[in-house]
């Protein structure tokens, strides 16, 4: 029973951290229309910054803030050249950046290369509680962080600042003609989304308590896109709903794929599961691009 409960805490933590991660993506794409296909890079930057700093005995809160800042800085360096170009260039540049970053993390010594980093301090570890209890407390911490970010992004989205993002997504030229410096807004949205991803990365590091470059493959970005379009682009509740559905399906299917079925190995079943993600994405794009919560009249996947 307690094992099942612990497992459930893990499931929920995954949902919460991914929700946070997708809120960042939603700010970039859902509100502003920036096609970021390298979101996992900012997760990785956050996770590695936190892991390295905490290993060197930095205070946990400081390390997490640093992770957010470094992620934002990277997005800035990337966005500065790319945002002046066409939309689909940003997609290619971000996807390339994420791949290059992963190769780099795998080949330099201060990240321990493919061995990864583990054994660093985690939050709330001073509490005299069992490991299972800690998992629930950590879940609460993640949920609190995500709730705060959720509320903050909602506030921003409803503000005049958020109105500019929406307008940029709908028609950049008009926004410019009416006097808005759109590049600075795009950069801000990109950096803020990256910082949120960096925060999710820090939480990921504490959740796994061990990270390596393998944790940050491009598939993570596409999972985030799946969650976002599943729930409904441009809606933060969509991120929550998408994450619950996605990990619900994921967990159910992993029940089936944890042991071989008939002639099929677990690897084959795992591959089939990703095929399923792909097919779901395709079907969504054909039949319901606005997602579950989206309405056709609202800001959707396309302008």
């Amino acid at each position: 029973m307690s094992m099942l409960l612990g497992y459930f805490a893990g499931f929920l933590t995954n949902v919460v951290i991914y929700t946070l991660f997708v809120i960042g993506l939603n700010l970039q794409f859902g509100y502003t229309g920036l096609i970021n296909f390298g979101h996992v890079a900012f997760l990785a930057v956050g996770a590695y910054t936190v892991a390295i700093l905490v290993t060197h005995h930095a205070p946990i809160l400081l390390a997490v803030l640093a992770g957010m800042a470094v992620a934002a800085l990277f997005s800035f360096l990337l966005g500065y050249p790319a945002l002046r170009l066409r939309d689909d260039y940003l997609a290619i540049v971000t996807i390339g950046f994420a791949e290059v970053l992963r190769i780099w993390l795998n080949n330099v010594s201060f990240t321990n290369g493919p061995e990864g980093i583990g054994g660093f301090a985690v939050p709330l570890s001073w509490l005299p509680v069992s490991h299972d209890a800690w998992r629930w407390l950590f879940l609460l911490l993640c949920a609190a962080v995500t709730a705060v970010v959720f509320a903050a992004v909602e506030y921003l989205a409803r503000s005049p600042w958020g109105r500019v993002l929406k307008a940029i997504r709908e028609d950049e030229d008009v926004a410019v003609a009416l006097g808005k410096n759109i590049v600075s807004y795009k950069l801000a949205a990109l950096a803020l989304g990256a910082a949120i991803a960096g925060l999710a990365g820090g939480l990921t590091a504490f959740f796994y308590q061990y990270i390596n470059p393998h944790n940050f493959e491009a598939t993570i970005t596409f999972e985030a896109w799946t969650i976002m379009v599943l729930g409904g682009v441009g809606k933060n509740w969509g991120a929550v709903l998408g994450a619950v559905i996605y990990f619900g399906l994921y967990t159910i299917t992993s029940e089936f794929t944890s042991s071989p079925i008939g002639p099929f190995s677990t690897d084959q079943l795992a591959a089939l599961r990703i095929v399923l993600i792909g097919v779901v994405l395709i079907l969504l794009m054909i039949y319901r691009p606005q997602g579950i919560l989206g309405r056709k009249e609202d800001l959707g996947l396309d302008r």
Binding site: P160, A167, E170, A177, G179, N181
Partner: protein, 278 residues
């Protein structure tokens, strides 16, 4: 048509509105100086100079391919000029980013009406208000109250324009659901939200039915009464002749005539350019 379109004074109370006629009395408001725009080797605009004075309605006409649309893009900084200068109220514009003119009080519209379809009418308008503290993240964080107060002002100003343009019944609808005529009015209202001193209208009468045309003409005249200056590109000769104080005629990238409607109508070069299909 009695509504006051004067911008509600911003918190500081210092920025003069378009409507109070305090624009500099002497000199040109917009000055186009020897502007040239080459595409490859082809000169789409080939050394054009003219002025627009405060309170004027100036028409820019010419047969297809005359270069007036290109010139319009250059003046609004949507296309870089090859050489020449455009000065608006003493500020040189060429080489600056395209969001600058609107901030200085020179706002443009688009030939095909472009509203933010998935924002409400009111949101469309509020978006366009200038100098909003709430557009900056640090103010949202540190001065939420100032943001709220200014937002209320912006809303009031938007409401005024909604009333002025008779959009009250649709104020909370998505702009995508409006009729063509309502969109046209919304675009005009949205441009006014930027508190301009001068408006650049890109073929405002394109695809407009006669009733709407009369309505737009009334609005343009009324705004001019309140001190607005206009530069209008237009194909519709009837409209140009009826409202313009002065007309600039282009053909083959150059100005071939300039003057009041009557003199332009009788100008030999203009008649040739139109008849010859230049």
């Amino acid at each position: 048509m009695t509504a006051d379109v004067r911008p509600s004074a911003p918190a500081s109370g210092s920025a003069p509105g378009a409507a109070d006629g305090t624009a500099p009395a002497a000199g040109a408001m917009l000055s186009v100086r020897d502007v040239r725009k080459l595409f490859g080797g082809f000169a789409a605009v080939d050394g054009v100079s003219f002025d627009v004075h405060p309170g004027e309605i100036v028409g820019l006409i010419g047969p297809n391919g005359a270069g007036k649309s290109t010139l319009f893009q250059v003046i609004s900084l949507f296309l870089p000029a090859t050489s020449g200068e455009v000065v608006f109220m003493g500020t040189p514009l060429i080489g600056r980013p395209p969001y600058v003119p609107a901030r200085l009080g020179l706002v443009r519209t688009f030939q095909i009406t472009r509203v933010f379809a998935r924002m409400t009418v009111l949101e469309n308008l509020m978006f366009a208000a200038p100098r909003q503290p709430g557009e900056h993240l640090q103010n949202l964080l540190l001065q939420p109250r100032r943001v709220r107060e200014h937002e209320a002002q912006v809303a009031r100003r938007a409401e005024e324009l909604v009333e002025y343009f008779n959009l009250g019944r649709v104020r909370d609808q998505y702009a995508g659901a409006l009729s063509g005529g309502q969109r046209k009015l919304l675009e005009m209202a949205r441009a006014l939200m930027t508190e301009p001193r001068m408006m650049l209208l890109d073929e405002p009468m394109a695809g407009v039915n006669p009733a709407l045309k009369e309505e737009l003409l009334r609005y343009i005249r009324d705004l001019r009464e309140k001190g607005m200056t206009f530069l209008v590109i237009e194909h519709d000769m009837d409209m140009i002749m009826r409202i313009c104080d002065r007309i600039v005629v282009m053909a083959n990238g150059r100005i071939i005539a300039e003057g009041d409607p009557q003199s332009v109508r009788e100008n030999r070069a203009v008649i040739d350019a139109y008849l010859g299909g230049a």
